[in-house]
Symmetry: C2
Subunit: 96 residues, 2 copies
Amino acid sequence: MAAGKPKMLSKRQRELIAKALSDPRRVEILKQIGSGNCVACGDIRARQDVSAATLSHHMKELEMAGLIEIAREGKYANLTLRRDVLRAYLDHLAAI
Amino acid sequence: MAAGKPKMLSKRQRELIAKALSDPRRVEILKQIGSGNCVACGDIRARQDVSAATLSHHMKELEMAGLIEIAREGKYANLTLRRDVLRAYLDHLAAI
DNA sequence: TCATCAATTCGACAGTTATCGAAGTATCAA
DNA sequence: TTGATACTTCGATAACTGTCGAATTGATGA
């Protein structure tokens, strides 16, 4: 089964990920993205009571951390969870 | 081995853990505690360039999150990593 | 008792961040 | 072209947080 190549994260990226995961709302967003295959920002707004501006801000944080990928298509932004990155982060912490 | 009983964390505790892990210095401290069996605050200060006040603050954060246990003995504080709690947190995130 | 040492608490400050409304930028449809 | 939709950027604000020095508490030893 597809263990895939073990991904290496820089110290810097691990810090960004930890920071990204420290906000409950972002974790919720991440779960929502992970539950579907590909989600648009609008779908998320429909479930999270948050302004478009705030949501956009969170998306940027998640993207900078490398936890999601944002594929802009026309006026939509399709979001996908980078499971390999999340996995690498968890693996690192598990080694403590 | 000893997978032990799977530990259940409340949403609240998961948030505290995520917050605790979001500061790089706290992660370092956690690693240091995890590397030995039982460490005193002084040992940590010896390696982390930080004031006693700041260190004490971080310890409280880690303890509140449930990530460490602080056993006070005389004038020393002996710290142990709660691996079961960390594991439970990681397991939860892995389920995303 | 007195001095010392380990750790905590307090008060303050600087830097960060989650949040919003408003304005801006594309995109698409009529 | 006009209007609507989807998201982003900007500016501001309130709340939070990491940090320290100083004062405090509690234990130990001379």
